[in-house]
């Protein structure tokens, strides 16, 4: 078997200094094969974003070993080649776009940064079209966009350098279902066409089920269970937290009348 594209061993992450130093990721192991799409789900605040941020070099205080594409990762900061190979879509689309840069500038600077000089204009058009934004959005500033439109600009930016690995942190949670369907179809197409590898965080188990082969479930800084998506679909989970999560998912999609309960108690 070939080496995993993403390899994480005994990752611990700490925040704060001195007596305030707290460990928020408690030694996790995770392997994602080349071309695989791997899901990360779990409790809010359990450390999912922190794991992705550690991979891209945004978390200074960590221990353990990580590698991407066979390259061992250093403590902080990553080479330009790394970012050409690995791109991340951040959970928070406001914070990740510069407020004084138009969409056009965000994308052209990203392309320039990665040494792409040919056909920049056409590439920007194509990127915007891929994420379902017409040319009318090209010269807008972030504050002139809706939440979902901003998230799509962030996705276009991540796709711009044609990366091999995408770290996706809730890429579609700000999107309505129709745009979500378009983006997920686009991500599926890109993966099958170019053999991309995805590590994807989402709290939407329907999205994870659609996109991923395997999934790891996190709670309070630990991976409590990893399972095949098929097993998840058949509700074959071992760990109580995973079971609880699956149960909640069924309830919130209205299968077992949370609304009925609420309306009963109202009446």
């Amino acid at each position: 078997m070939s080496l995993p594209e993403i390899q994480i061993e005994g990752l611990e992450v700490f925040f704060g200094d001195g007596t305030e130093r707290t460990r928020v990721v408690h030694g996790i192991d995770l392997n994602v094969a080349q071309g695989e799409s791997y899901g990360l789900v779990g409790e809010s605040g359990s450390g999912k974003s922190t794991v992705l941020r550690a991979l891209v070099g945004l978390v200074p205080d960590w221990a353990g070993a990580m590698s991407v594409g066979g390259e061992k990762l250093s403590r902080i900061g990553r080479s330009k080649e790394f970012y050409r190979r690995v791109q991340m879509v951040f959970q928070d689309p406001y914070a990740s776009l510069h407020p004084r840069q138009t969409v056009d500038r965000v994308l052209s600077e990203t392309l320039a940064l990665h040494g792409i000089k040919d056909g920049v204009d056409a590439r920007i058009d194509r990127l915007l079209e891929q994420v379902g934004l017409g040319g009318g959005f090209r010269f807008r500033y972030p504050h002139q966009l809706s939440g979902g439109q901003r998230q799509r600009v962030a996705i276009a930016r991540a796709l711009a350098p044609e990366p091999k690995v995408l770290l996706l942190d809730e890429p579609t949670s700000a999107l309505d279902v129709s745009v979500q369907a378009e983006i997920l179809n686009l991500l599926s197409d890109l993966r099958s066409e170019f053999g991309l590898t995805y590590l994807m965080v989402s709290h939407d188990l329907g999205v994870i089920g659609h996109m991923c082969d395997r999934v790891a479930v996190m709670q309070t800084g630990e991976i409590v269970e990893t399972l095949e998506v098929d097993a998840m679909r058949r509700l074959q989970a071992e760990h109580p937290y995973t079971r609880h999560l699956l149960d909640s998912a069924l309830r919130s999609s209205g299968h077992a009348g949370m609304a009925a309960d609420a309306k009963l108690s109202a009446g």
Binding site: G45, P93, F139, S146, R152, G206, H210, S252, A262
Partner: protein, 285 residues
């Protein structure tokens, strides 16, 4: 019984390079002591509707309406001072992007305490205690630790719940919640919905619940308005959302990925230009 909000023919416009852009195009709705869901695709004008109610459309944006009233009081002619008093005390809005709306240089605890103390005369110790209880109520683990954190130090879902705590603590009569649970795992999501639900049931709060999660809205709300291109294209009882008639609503329902019924490809929506032109459906009570 009188309505909490009555809105007739509300429009929101922005001047752009290529002329004026109408983000909301003459919608009418009222809100009783109920859970009103607003769904619709990205850019359809959901957030702008919420912001317009609160007088938060920034210049050069323009808001017009035949009627925009909170329990009979016009919000269009209210003074800026009166609007500041209304925001928070009578109407609160949970913004779609919590981290952007929180003050980056103030700790989470100080912000919640300040939100409470601008609307109510309470001592520091009491305010601290209530802030802590509120964080606990929205299922934040280790609330004492989180009170001391700055917004950039909390996770996406924690930021969202902090915003919810801040907006609920002054006990508003109307809550506009813009995608309030989009960053929450399903289990925490249920707990947060339960809190809002309780406020509607026990205190008669009116809730406008903006979301793109159709299943969630169908299960949680009483009525749903479906927006498309700045208009309301369909209004229905939430429980009957799955019997919706408008092709756009059906298209939305069809593009939801379902864990139990996987498909190789998700259906993307084909939009019909006629949808834009159809007159807005009234969601008045």
């Amino acid at each position: 019984m009188s309505n909490l909000l009555d809105i007739e023919n509300l429009s929101v416009r922005f001047p752009t390079r290529s002329g004026s852009f109408e983000a909301v195009r003459g919608i009418s709705l009222s809100l009783g002591r109920e859970r009103l869901g607003i769904v619709g695709e990205s850019g359809s004008g959901k957030s702008m509707t919420g912001r317009a109610i609160l007088g938060l459309i920034r210049k050069p944006g323009q808001v017009t309406a035949d009627r925009l009233e909170m329990q009979g009081e016009s919000l269009l002619t209210a003074s800026p001072k009166r609007m500041r008093a209304i925001r928070g005390k009578h109407i609160s809005m949970i913004m779609q992007d919590p981290k952007y709306s929180l003050n980056p240089v103030m700790t989470v605890g100080d912000q919640i305490i300040e939100a409470l103390r601008t609307h109510e005369k309470v001592g520091k110790a009491e305010a601290y205690k209530r802030a802590l209880e509120m964080l606990d109520a929205v299922a934040i683990r280790e609330p004492e630790r989180v009170m001391k954190l700055y917004p950039h130090e909390v996770s996406g879902g924690m930021g969202q719940r902090i915003m919810i705590a801040m907006m609920l603590i002054p006990n508003p009569e109307i809550l506009i919640a813009d995608e309030p649970t989009s960053a929450l795992d399903v289990s925490v999501q249920l707990q947060v919905l339960e809190i809002m639900d309780k406020l509607v049931r026990e205190r008669g709060m009116g809730l406008i619940f903006i979301s793109h999660d159709l299943n969630l809205v169908a299960g949680f709300c009483d009525r749903v308005a479906v927006m498309y291109a700045g208009r309301i294209v369909e209004v229905c009882e939430a429980g009957r959302l799955h019997e919706a008639k408008h092709p756009y609503t059906l298209g939305l329902l069809n593009s939801v990925p379902d864990l139990e019924r996987p498909r190789p490809r998700l259906e993307a929506l084909t939009r019909d230009p006629a949808w834009r032109e159809a007159p807005s459906v009234s969601a008045l009570l």
